[in-house]
Amino acid sequence: MVRVPIGSIYRKKSPIEGLLEHMKKVRECVLLLKEGVMKYFDEDFSSFHEITNKVSEIEHEADLIKGNIRAHLPSSILMPVDKKYFLWLLREEDAILDHAENLAQLLDLRHTKIPEELKNKFKEHMDLVSQTVEEMEKAIIKFKELLDMGFPSRIRDELKQLIHNVHRKEWEADRVRYEIMRDIYKMEDKLSPMDEYHLLKISDWVDDIADHAENVADWLRAMVAK
C-alpha cells in the first residue's frame, strides 16, 4: 500500500519504446516481403504462400503493439513531442504493414509472370522501396537518440538529414516506377489485359509502401520542428 504519488506519475512503458518495437516489426516484415518478391519476380513461386502467411502474422502482431500504445495514451499524458503528431506517425507506420500485407496477398492470389525486359526494373523498384523503409528506420532510431539526449541541435540536424534521405529514396523509387509504367504501356499489345492490369497494380502497391514511409518521415519532421 503506497501513499506517495510519485509512482503514479510515471508510465510503466514509454510510448516511444512501443514505437521502436512497432518499427522492428515493420522492418522484419518489409525485408521478408522483399526477399519473397525478388524470388517471385524470378518466377519462383514455391515459398510465396508461406511468406504471405508470415507477413499477415507480423502485421497482426504489429497491430497489437499499435493498439497497446494507443490505449495507454489518455489525454492526461504529457509527451516531449506533440501527441497528435505521434499518433499520426504511428498510424502511417502501421499503414506500411497494411500495404505490405495487401501486396503479398495480391501476388499470392495470382502468379503473374513479369516480362523478361521488365524484371530488372521491378527488382530495382522493390529494392529502392525497401531502402526507403530502412532509411525511415534509421530516422526513427535517431529520433529516440534525440529524445534521450534532450534535443541537442547536433542530433536534430542529423535527424533532418536522415529524413531527407527517406525523401530521396522515395523519389528514386517513384522515378523507377514511372519507367515501369511507361514500359508497361509500351508493351500493351503484347500483354493480356489481365497481365497488364496486374503488372500496373503490383508496381502501384509496391510503391505505396515507400509513400507511407515518406509520410512517417514527414510526421517526424513535424514533431521535431522548432
Partner: protein
C-alpha cells in the same frame, strides 16, 4: 495519568515516524533504484542513515513552526488544553495517514499534522487562537514548493542538455559538470547544518564564516569526485548516463537528508509539546533523534515494499533525469526546512518530475496525478481538523 498521556504520545509519534519513513522513502530512493543507480539494499541503508542525520541536524526549524507558530499560546493559556490538543492532532494525523495509505490516496503527513493542530486550536480558542500569518505562509509554501521543484528540475535538466549533451564533447563536460554539482550539493547541505542550528551554536562565527567553510567543504568534496568520475569508462551517450548513475547516489542522499529535516517535525513536534507540558522539558535533540530513529525503522522494516512497488513503475527513467528530479526536489525541501516551512516532500518530487517532463526529458508522464493531489489537499485539511476536534473532545472527557 500524565504518564499514560506521555506513553500514548510517544507511541503515536513513533507510529507517525514509522509511517513517514516507510512510505516517503520512495520519494528519495525510488528514482535512484528505478534508474538502477543503487540497489534496494543500498537504498534502505542510505535512506535510513541520511533521514536520521537530516532529522537531528536540521529538523529543528520545522519542528519549531509546528510547536509554536500555528497556535497562539497567549490565547489558549491552559497548558492542559494545549497538551491534549497536540495529542489529539497527532492521533488524528496518524489515523488519517493510515487511512490514506490503506486507500492509496496521495495525502501528505505534513498537511495532516498542520490540519490537526489548527483544528483543536479553532475549537479551543476560536479564530484568534490561530496564527493566521503562519497559516498563510505555510499554505503559500505548499503551493510554491511543487512549483519551485518543477522550476529547478527543469533548469537542471536543461543545463545537462545544453552543457553536456549538446556539447562537442559530452564526456568531457560531464566530467566537469559532475564534480561541480557534487560540490554544490555538499555546500548546500553543510551550510544548512551550520545556519541557526545546534551544530552552528557550537561553532564561533557568523554567516560569512559558515558560507566560507561550506564552500571549502564543497570544493574538498568535488576533488575526489572528479577523479572518481574520471575513472568511469565508456563512450558517447552511455558514458554520460554512467557518470550520472554515480552522481545520482549523491542526489538521492540529498533528498533523504532533506526529507528527514522537514518531515521529522510531523511526528516529533507534537510529542515534544506533550512531554514538555506533562513532565518537563526534554532536550529537542533527543526527541528529534527519536523521531529520526522512528523514520529509520520505518524505512528498514517496510520501505522495501514501497520502493519495490514504486520502483517497478519507474523502469524507463534514465540517470540524468533521476539526477535532475532529485536535485530539484531536495533543494526545495531543504530550503523550506531552513525557513521552517512544513511542506510535502511527495508533492515537491511530483513537481520536479513535471519540471523534467516540461523540459522534454521524459517520454510520457501522467498529469492526472496532479488532480488527485489537489483533491487530496482540499480534502485533507478539513478532514484532519474535524478528526482532531473529535479526538480532542474525547480526550477531554477521559482525562
Amino acid at each position: 495519568m500524565l504518564l499514560a498521556l506521555i506513553v500514548l504520545a510517544i507511541f503515536a509519534g513513533l507510529y507517525m515516524a514509522w509511517s513517514i519513513g516507510s512510505n516517503d522513502v520512495a520519494n528519495s530512493m525510488s528514482t535512484a533504484v528505478g534508474a538502477k543507480a543503487i540497489n534496494l539494499r543500498q537504498a534502505l541503508i542510505i535512506a535510513s542513515i541520511l533521514n536520521f542525520l537530516g532529522a537531528i541536524l536540521v529538523g529543528k526549524h520545522v519542528t519549531d513552526t509546528i510547536k509554536n507558530k500555528i497556535i497562539d499560546s497567549s490565547v489558549i493559556s491552559n497548558p492542559d488544553a494545549i497538551l491534549l490538543g497536540f495529542l489529539a492532532a497527532l492521533l488524528s494525523a496518524a489515523l488519517f495517514v493510515t487511512l490514506s495509505t490503506w486507500k492509496e490516496l496521495p495525502v501528505s503527513t505534513t498537511h495532516a499534522i498542520v490540519g490537526g493542530v489548527a483544528g483543536f486550536g479553532l475549537i479551543e480558542g476560536g479564530m484568534h487562537a490561530i496564527k493566521w500569518k503562519t497559516i498563510e505562509m505555510v499554505t503559500l509554501s505548499w503551493i510554491l514548493s511543487p512549483i519551485a521543484g518543477m522550476v529547478i528540475a527543469f533548469l537542471v535538466f536543461k543545463l545537462i542538455a545544453k552543457f553536456v549533451f549538446s556539447s562537442e564533447d559530452p564526456h568531457r563536460n560531464a566530467e566537469i559538470f559532475g564534480p561541480f554539482f557534487v560540490g554544490l550539493t555538499i555546500f548546500i547541505i553543510i551550510l544548512s547544518i551550520f545556519m541557526k542550528t545546534r551544530v552552528g551554536a557550537y561553532v564561533e562565527g557568523g554567516i560569512i564564516e559558515y558560507i566560507a567553510f561550506s564552500f571549502i567543504a564543497g570544493i574538498i568534496a568535488s576533488i575526489p569526485s572528479y577523479f572518481l568520475i574520471k575513472k568511469i569508462k565508456g563512450k558517447g551517450y552511455e558514458i554520460v548516463e554512467k557518470i550520472f548513475k554515480r552522481l545520482q547516489i549523491v542526489t538521492s542522499c540529498y533528498v533523504a537528508f532533506s526529507h528527514g529535516a522537514n518531515d521529522v517535525a510531523n511526528a516529533a513536534a507534537p510529542v515534544m509539546v506533550v512531554i514538555a507540558l506533562a513532565w518537563h522539558r526534554v532536550s529537542d535533540f533527543y526527541l528529534l533523534a527519536l523521531g529520526g530513529l522512528g523514520i529509520a525503522i520505518g524505512i528498514i522494516t517496510w520501505g522495501h515494499k514501497v520502493i519495490r512497488t514504486v520502483g517497478s513503475r519507474i523502469t524507463s527513467l534514465t540517470n540524468t533525469r533521476g539526477f535532475s528530479i532529485d536535485f530539484g526536489a531536495a533543494t526545495v525541501v531543504l530550503t523550506a526546512s531552513k525557513l521552517g516551512m512544513p511542506i510535502s516532500t511527495s508533492h515537491t518530487v511530483v513537481g520536479a518530475v513535471i519540471g523534467v517532463g516540461l523540459a522534454r526529458g521524459l517520454e510520457a508522464i501522467d498529469l492526472s496525478v496532479v488532480k488527485k493531489i489537489v483533491y487530496s489537499w482540499i480534502f485533507t485539511l478539513p478532514a484532519t481538523m474535524v478528526t482532531s476536534i473529535l479526538i480532542y473532545m474525547g480526550l477531554q472527557i477521559i482525562f
